[in-house]
């Protein structure tokens, strides 16, 4: 029931927000989202699976069992962390929209709360069908949020966003159904849609070719959602046209549906194929990192710049995931959270500027730090978080992702396969330099420089007569929206250990198929992957290790195993 409440509370709040009069709906939405946060905090405190690979908060509805569908919910620590991120961002988005949205508020808040419910459903689903329903349902609220409340080009953006991601996820559905079909064939016609059961089946029973097909199908949907390099073009458009809160949720949690999907499905389900394809996917993410970063550099539209920076940043996230070792994967999960915090906050900051000046053109404004020092403080803070300044959250995850990719070499003693290697990290690391370039250029253009305010009114402290009558600098409400994010950024940057400890079990559990491969390779410890390095004196072992690749080991070992029976 605890898990179900994560979906039911925002749904109830959505219905309430749609039912009450317009002038009250934002308060209802705020109250509902605060209840959700409170529920999340309580659930987090009593959550039993922190630090382990197990699932907690299990609840299931049995009335669909005849169809093989169990409406099962539950969360491991990674899912829980992402649910909490979603719950946290929701009230901030609601409060951040108080002045920005002045008409059709009931629809606005209802869609937003509905979106949060669907996102929570995706993270909590333990059943493929429910997962897919929620995954697709997220498109509908966001479609309306963009199409009704978006910028001038909103129609094209919303349709493109909807159809692009919808088409992609059809392939994902096909892939998942194929796995379920194969599983039912193997089980004499007994269908199951349980993620755990299908994962077990697919990772052990499917042939390499079948796994490759399934991975392609999964990637088709998840890569669009992430978005990975060649299929990213819906994102800048959707981000630019979406209302502020839509952008925040889009960057904060909706993109994470893609990486979460990769983490939850692709990695554990089809390990053989993932290991084969990992260099290729990593290459795509590196292309994305550099390509999007260079495009960021020449943007004039600040929101578009941050949108492209998401493409670049998520490249790091996917790179870390496909390093297929715990460092990279933990970095990747941490990246999902951190990117949600810092990029979400950047979109909020930009939204505050847009509300005041009704432009996103970086050439139209300059030196806003003098006019809005408090805003400038937050803008600089979150930009630094985004470019990975150590001491703030972005650094930890970026560092771990690159680290994971770097040490993912074939002869590493990490006990995991090493599909990538130093060159991947070195080239992706160029993205660090480019990120500093485009983000500091952005700061130099809008925050610093000679004071200039859009609209030619360069003088003094007159208000621009925006309909919402916002103060020159941030209002207490706006500060209250940004402060929790800033505190979290700093806290995760200085003290990431509680978070990494909490998600460690899930990450190792997800990577278990790979640890097994590695154990078969080294033949060191037949009983499990965790104690692989036992008794190895690292320094001498490394110095004398023969240069036989892990992969060849695994092939040899696999051949022997195949020959034995």
């Amino acid at each position: 029931m605890t898990a179900a409440l994560f979906i039911l509370i925002p749904l109830a709040a959505a219905i309430a927000a749609a039912a009450v009069p317009s002038r009250l709906s934002h308060w209802v939405a705020l109250a509902g989202s605060m209840v959700l946060v409170a529920h999340g905090l309580v659930a987090a405190v009593f959550f039993g699976a922190w630090g382990t690979g197990a699932f907690a908060l299990a609840s299931e509805a049995t009335w669909l069992r005849p169809l093989g569908i169990e409406l099962a919910l539950g969360a491991d620590s990674v899912a829980m962390a992402l649910v909490l991120l979603n719950c946290l961002l929701l009230p901030l988005c609601v409060a951040g929209s108080f002045t920005a949205v002045q008409e059709r508020q009931r629809e606005y808040y209802a869609w937003m709360l509905g979106l949060a419910a669907a996102v929570n459903g995706v993270f909590l689903a333990r059943d493929v069908v429910f997962f897919y329903i929620c995954f697709e349902f997220t498109l509908i609220p966001l479609f309306f949020l963009i199409a009704i409340f978006g910028g001038p080009n909103r129609e094209r953006a919303s349709i493109k966003f909807f159809l692009y991601t919808f088409t992609g996820s059809l392939f994902t559905l096909a892939g998942l159904l194929y796995v379920a079909w194969q599983a039912s064939l193997a089980a004499d016609g007994a269908w199951t849609f349980s993620i755990a059961a299908l994962t077990d089946f697919a990772s052990t029973q499917l042939s390499a070719e079948q796994q490759g097909m399934v991975l392609l199908a999964l990637m088709a949907g998840f890569a669009v959602k992430v978005p990975l390099f060649p299929v990213h073009t819906w994102l800048p458009l959707a981000h630019t046209e979406a209302p502020t809160a839509g952008s925040v949720l889009l960057a904060g949690v909706l993109l994470k549906l893609g990486t979460y999907g990769l983490f939850r499905f692709a990695l554990p389900m089809v390990p053989t194929a993932v290991e084969e394809y990992a260099p290729f996917i990593a290459t795509l993410s590196i292309i994305g990192i550099l390509y999007a970063a260079l495009i960021c550099w020449v943007q004039d539209d600040v929101k578009r710049l941050v949108a492209y920076s998401s493409v670049s940043h998520l490249g790091f996230c996917v790179l870390g995931l496909f390093a297929l070792n715990p460092v990279g994967a933990q970095g990747s999960v941490l990246y999902m959270i951190n990117h949600g915090l810092s990029t979400g906050a950047l979109f909020l900051c930009i939204g505050m500027i847009y509300e005041r000046f009704h432009t996103r053109d970086m050439d139209a404004m300059s030196g806003l730090a003098r006019r809005m020092p408090v805003w400038a403080f937050f803008m600089v803070f979150f930009t630094l978080s985004s470019l990975g300044l150590p001491g703030l959250n972005g650094f930890v995850s970026e560092f771990l992702c690159l680290f994971g990719a770097f040490i993912s070499t074939r002869d590493a003693t990490t006990g995991y396969p090493g599909p990538l290697g130093p060159w991947y990290a070195a080239i992706a690391g160029l993205g660090m330099i480019l990120a500093a370039m485009y983000l500091l250029i952005m700061l130099g253009k809008i925050v610093f420089g000679p004071p200039k305010v859009p609209g030619g009114a360069g003088h003094g402290h007159d208000d621009h007569g925006s309909p919402s009558a916002l103060p020159t600098d941030l209002s207490p409400r706006e500060i209250a929206v940004l402060v929790p994010l800033a505190v979290l950024c700093l806290a995760i940057g200085l003290q990431p250990k509680p978070l990494t400890d909490a998600i460690e079990g899930s990450v190792i559990e997800t990577l278990r198929p790979y640890a097994r491969l590695a154990v078969a390779a080294s033949e060191a410890q037949p009983e499990g992957g965790f104690v692989l390095a036992e008794g190895i004196d690292r320094a001498t072992e490394r110095a004398t290790r023969p240069l036989v690749s892990q992969r060849e080991h695994s092939r040899l070992a696999g051949a022997e195993e195949g020959a034995a029976p």
């Binding site: 390509y291 003098r370 020092p373 200085l494 460690e504």
Partner: protein, 746 residues
């Protein structure tokens, strides 16, 4: 023997110092949790930064931020000395866990394969030495800035002191951290503090550009550091110094090391060259002079830029992993020293001259590191911190008093003006030390490096160390010339001055009132206590107690810094600095003193003794030329320049030196422009090819056919749907094809 002959002589009989034995010489660190109070050395500046930010938030009008900073940094200095008294030999102090990823099980007995980087200190002679000048110097410069930044009270004042506090926090992390990841935190942290402070006058486009440039150029080096850290982990399984030295010692050094081991020193070097402004990454430092002068003194002269020297000294054993590593450090250092000195001789802005001088002196330090005298390098860091801080702070006092005037052609005779005597004479002390005048601190530290370069030519022939020694001597003469060019022009000669065209705080001061950034207008707008503009009604604004007091203290420090060369150590290491360096990783691989003390490497003489005379001669020659051209016959300098300009074959000398050898322009054309162009091309490709042609174009195909088949169909939605399917199918097909190509290739 000509230097070129030495360069050409290829000796294979190098003395390889192997990394394993170098690391084995470092004693294992002792964990001492009872010293956890030392953590306050970090927390006090952090608290100061928070309080200063709070002052900014509550719009405190007054000098409260300065007093907070000075007070807390003062306490931190006391703690540094307290720690100094309680530490003997390498010590680790654990504060709290930071990054800790392990995947081979937990528990006391479980083997740990993982990456661990804690907030913890590794305290030994090297880190203590650094802290002993970083924190007290920071306190003194904060005191100086409390007066210098006066015009900004109530505006940028808290922001300035918050920046200084953040800097000291980060620098302490960098120096005291017990692992490379914490060093990386400090490394980028000081870069960020530098970004904040260089861009302090943020309404000035040049300041914003300089801040950006400093951060971005440093990021190139940071990438090197990050990759170096990864490689170190990959090879040694740890990023903590203690474990690293242990693993390095255990690695035995048998056989030929692989590329992944040998690349480590070069990556670390890249980081050091970025932070310490060496070729080819030095370009950010001269521009960084856009920041307030106390910042230039603290960050861009005395402390932050020496972080590269610290990094190499700290990881010195790793630099023996490849025989090319240390000679390369020496060559880069020697060439940078000469290169920056040539530019420094031709500039007119005294602060820029000091900036190039800093680059040049840092070059000496790297030459020292490369010549296997980490002690000499560290000693030069120590003395340079004092005398260069004095020089920058005197420049700052002049700038402060003469409404931003920094052109040495427009100032003269300061030593004879009332109120300016302290500035002029402390500047003289700084210039003498910089020029290596016998008896002053810079003389001893520079000589150590130069002498060791000649010693290395004997012990490690074939790498051109002797040539570098001569290069260093030539640079010493140039250094004396440009230092005294400044002093003779500005402080000696007849009294004459013109005020600058803007006060140092002009952009900050006036931008808020009239809301435009027309800098030309600022001087005309006037500045209440600087008087009007034009030399007629202008009254220089002589420094008061805080500035003068700090100048005198630092000048005394610059003189007394000569003493640690001789006293304060023990029998084997007579000088305090040497003694400190000997008790750290910087000593590893350095042969014991008596072994190499007396080779006849310099014309049959012991270079250490000969250098006292030779470098003094070079220094005095440079000083005399400066005296002739800039004191006795000031017209002669211009005549010489014009004569050179008129000469068709030699005109490149003054032109190139004045234009900084066009390096900025070169980088702009070679790096920035192509990338910028590539960005636009990719933006175009993204919009019109990836999105337009592939996605939308495929979307149009069904509509195109639909026109023939079913003209009435409104195909927008469906078109897109089919298009997306087609697009995905296309991409999937591409993926498959590429995958097969890749697999065939593999």
């Amino acid at each position: 023997m000509s230097p070129f002959a030495l360069l050409a002589a290829t000796g294979t009989a190098t003395v390889p110092i192997d990394a394993a034995s170098a690391a084995a010489a470092i004693p294992a660190a002792i964990a001492r949790p009872e010293l956890a109070w030392a953590g306050w050395i970090l927390w006090l500046p952090a608290i100061s930064a928070i309080l200063c930010t709070a002052c900014a938030a509550f719009r405190v009008k007054g000098k409260l931020p300065a007093w907070i900073t000075i007070g807390l940094l003062g306490i931190a200095s006391v703690l540094v000395f307290a720690l100094y008294g309680r530490v003997d030999g390498p010590t680790t102090i654990h504060l709290f866990d930071w990054i800790d990823i392990a995947w081979t099980g937990r528990g006391p007995d479980a083997p740990r394969e993982g990456i661990v980087a804690s907030f913890a200190f590794y305290v030994d002679g090297l880190s203590l030495l650094w802290m002993c000048f970083v924190v007290p110097l920071g306190t003194l410069i904060a005191l100086y800035a409390s007066e210098y930044m006066e015009p900004d009270v109530g505006r940028g004042y808290p922001r300035f002191f918050a920046g200084v506090s953040i800097f000291l926090f980060a620098m302490s992390c960098l120096v005291l951290g017990d692992n490379l990841v914490l060093l990386y935190l400090g490394w980028e942290g000081v870069g960020f503090a530098s970004y904040l402070l260089v861009g302090y006058y943020y309404t000035k486009p040049s300041a914003v550009a300089a801040a950006k440039k400093a951060f971005i150029v440093n990021r190139v080096g940071d990438l090197g550091l990050a990759l170096g850290i990864f490689l170190i982990w990959l090879n040694y399984g740890t990023v903590e110094y203690d474990g690293l030295f242990h693993a390095l010692a255990a690695s035995g050094g048998e056989g030929e090391a692989g590329w992944s081991v040998r690349a480590i020193p070069f990556l670390l070097m890249l980081a050091a060259f970025g932070k310490s402004a060496q070729l080819p990454l030095y370009v950010w430092l001269p521009d960084a002079m856009e920041g307030p002068t106390p910042v230039s003194a603290l960050i861009h002269a005395a402390t932050m830029v020496t972080a590269g020297v610290y990094l190499i000294a700290r990881t010195y054993p790793l630099f023996h992993l490849d025989p090319l590593a240390l000679p390369l450090v020496a060559w880069v250092g020697g060439l940078t020293a000469l290169f920056a000195a040539t530019i420094g001789m031709a500039q007119h802005d005294i602060k820029r001259i000091m900036a190039y001088s800093t680059i040049s002196q840092l070059g000496y330090m790297f030459l020292g590191l490369g010549a296997i005298t980490a002690y000499g390098a560290v000693y030069h860091v120590f003395t340079h911190a004092f005398f260069k801080a004095v020089l920058f702070l005197t420049c700052g006092a002049i700038m402060h008093g003469f409404a931003g005037q920094l052109d040495l052609r427009k100032l003269s005779g300061l030593a004879w003006m009332p109120g300016w005597r302290v500035v002029a004479w402390t500047m003289l002390v700084g210039c003498l030390a910089l020029a290596g005048f016998p008896g002053l601190s810079g003389y001893f530290s520079k000589d150590l490096i130069l002498a060791e370069a000649f010693v290395s030519s004997e012990t490690r022939p074939g790498w051109g160390y002797a040539f570098l020694g001569w290069l260093g001597l030539a640079t010493a003469a140039m250094t004396a010339y440009y230092a005294f060019r400044v002093w003779f022009r500005v402080c000696a000669g007849p009294v004459h001055f013109e005020p600058g065209d803007e006060a140092h705080d002009a952009a900050e001061d006036h931008g808020g009132h009239d809301g435009h950034a027309d800098h030309a207008g600022h001087a005309a707008a006037g500045h209440d206590d600087h008087g009007g503009h034009g030399s007629g009604g202008f009254h220089p604004h002589a420094p008061r107690l805080a500035i003068n007091g700090v100048l005198v203290i630092l000048a005394i420090g610059a003189v007394l810094a000569a003493l640690p060369c001789f006293i304060g150590g023990d029998a084997a290491h007579p000088g305090w600095v040497e003694w400190m360096a000997a008790r750290s990783s910087a000593a590893s691989g350095v042969p014991p003193h008596d072994v190499h003390a007396h080779p006849a490497a310099f014309f049959g003489l012991d270079p250490h003794k000969a250098m006292y005379y030779v470098s003094a001669v070079f220094g005095i020659v440079g000083l005399s030329i400066a005296a002739w051209l800039h004191l006795l016959d000031r017209g002669a300098a211009d005549r010489l320049r014009n004569a050179l300009l008129a000469h068709p074959l030699l005109r490149w000398i003054p032109l190139g030196a004045e234009r900084k050898w066009y390096v900025d322009e070169l980088y702009d054309i070679v790096i920035r422009m192509p990338l910028w162009f590539l960005g636009h091309v990719l933006g175009f490709i993204d919009r019109y090819i990836v999105d337009g042609l592939l996605v939308d174009g495929i979307a149009r195909i069904p509509r195109f056919f639909g026109r023939f088949i079913q003209p009435l169909q409104n195909g927008v939605l469906q078109g897109y749907a089919v298009a997306m399917a087609g697009g995905i199918a296309f991409i999937v097909a591409g993926v498959v094809v590429l995958f097969w190509i890749w697999r065939l290739g593999a």
